[in-house]
Amino acid sequence: MNSLALGGILKRIYSDFDMASFSNRLKLQKIIYLLQASGISLGYTYSYYLYGPYSTELTKEAFQITNYKDIKEVGFEDKEIENKFQDFLKRIENHKNDEFWLEVASSIHLISKVYPKMPREEVVRMIQEKRSQLQKKGEEIKAVWKDLEGWIL
């Protein structure tokens, strides 16, 4: 993957973007994770960190995107993948700026993939234990889970 293609995909999700803030870097990590989880591989390998799935390669490439304004949007040659991407855009539209949702959704997906037999309650507990800010958010985490059912879960 090169930074031009990454930037072109990102531009279809966020019209304005930079790597200056932690919030934007978090959104980048989680949105690309979810895009890959939806079946469109961009080749990024992820590991689980404090704020959920994180890819160092993705961070490196995103920092190479300069002048986001001039980046051209990118589509997919394969019609089926393009349709999948458009479906992704629709599903993510109401959540793409919600850091809590993005962090929890990507964490639920990653833990469920690593531990396919782990009961839902246990996955929720693992996410809650990650950071003190998530400890009292059991119900909200379960609500995010519902958003993912029938899509990437």
């Binding site: 995909i9 079946g39 591989s41 390998t45 949007e73 997919f76 040659e77 690593v114």
Partner: protein, 71 residues
């Protein structure tokens, strides 16, 4: 801190250095915790570590990177 004079040599003995404190804690724990509980603590720690290890393993995406076109 204790000090004593022996054969004209002043010995300084500080039993509260860091390794002594750790030793004291370990001995204290062994006294307080029954052996089974200690083993159960180890089991939990091992399980937790293996959970963390599995999650730390890099997860590769499935499938090939598709061909892009500039719009």
């Amino acid at each position: 801190m204790k000090s004593s004079m022996k054969d004209g040599l002043k010995l300084i003995f500080n039993p509260k250095n860091e390794s002594d404190k750790v030793q004291e804690k370990v001995i204290g724990l062994q006294k307080e915790e029954p052996i089974s509980a200690t083993f159960s603590m180890f089991d939990d720690a091992i399980k937790k570590n293996s959970d963390v290890y599995k999650l730390k393993k890099p997860i590769k995406p499935k499938g090939k990177i598709p061909h892009f076109l500039f719009l």
